[in-house]
């Protein structure tokens, strides 16, 4: 699943470390999410969308065949 975490994070000028601390995960998890290597759980997706003040659909791009 693709996501726009990097894009929204850049807009807020937040570092990966700041984002990781805000949503309660490690920086490595943020890196993996941004690289598309790891898919966030529903809880983490919710925390991220609240942090960026956008909807989950705006942040994550769902693809039917996944």
């Amino acid at each position: 699943m693709e996501n726009r975490i990097k894009e929204f994070r850049s807009r807020l000028k937040a570092t990966q470390d700041e984002l990781a601390k805000a949503v309660g995960v490690t920086r490595q998890t943020i890196i993996s999410l941004e690289n598309g290597k790891y898919n966030a759980s529903l809880q983490l997706a919710h925390r991220l969308s609240r942090f960026f003040k956008v909807s989950i659909e705006d942040l994550f791009i769902f693809e039917e065949d996944e």
């Binding site: 990781a20 601390k21 309660g24 995960v25 490690t26 490595q28 998890t29 993996s32 790891y38 966030a40 759980s41 809880q43 983490l44």
Partner: protein, 138 residues
């Protein structure tokens, strides 16, 4: 359970390791027959206990590091990685053990073959029991 309490409990457990290790080493060294294996296990327990105890005390004295540790332990990616590693190691073990059973029987190590075959069966049985329990829960 609060994470700080969890770390405190771990520190107590490590202190118990040190005491048990010291006891084993004492028995091995000052007993009637010097037992090298018991002595080595005792020293190993003491060393591991001391290292982990020091680490836990350091965490308890440093709230920022304690918080970082809590995040690292509760991090969902770390947990997912551990789960994947666990399931992969189970699959690898079962495959290797199944091959080992055949090889052991071919080379007439019947007893060893039986032990390994039994462990494979036991693993499969435990897996099936766990699956049935988890299936009811979710």
């Amino acid at each position: 359970m609060k994470f700080e309490r969890k770390i405190k409990l771990r520190a107590y457990l490590m202190a118990a390791y040190i005491i048990i290790g010291a006891g084993m080493w004492f028995v091995a060294f000052f007993g009637e027959n010097v037992n090298d294996l018991l002595s080595a296990v005792g020293i190993g327990l003491m060393a591991a206990g001391a290292m982990q105890l020091g680490r836990n005390i350091h965490l308890l004295r440093n709230p920022e590091k304690l918080h970082d540790r809590e995040i690292a332990e509760k991090d969902e990616r770390n947990i997912a990685l551990m789960e994947k590693a666990r399931s992969l190691s189970f699959a690898v073990y079962i495959t290797l053990a199944a091959v080992a059973v055949i090889v052991l029987y071919v080379f007439n190590f019947d007893l060893a073959g039986e032990v390994v075959a039994f462990s494979v069966c036991a693993f499969c049985l435990i897996y099936w029991i766990c699956y049935m329990i988890i299936k009811r829960k979710y």
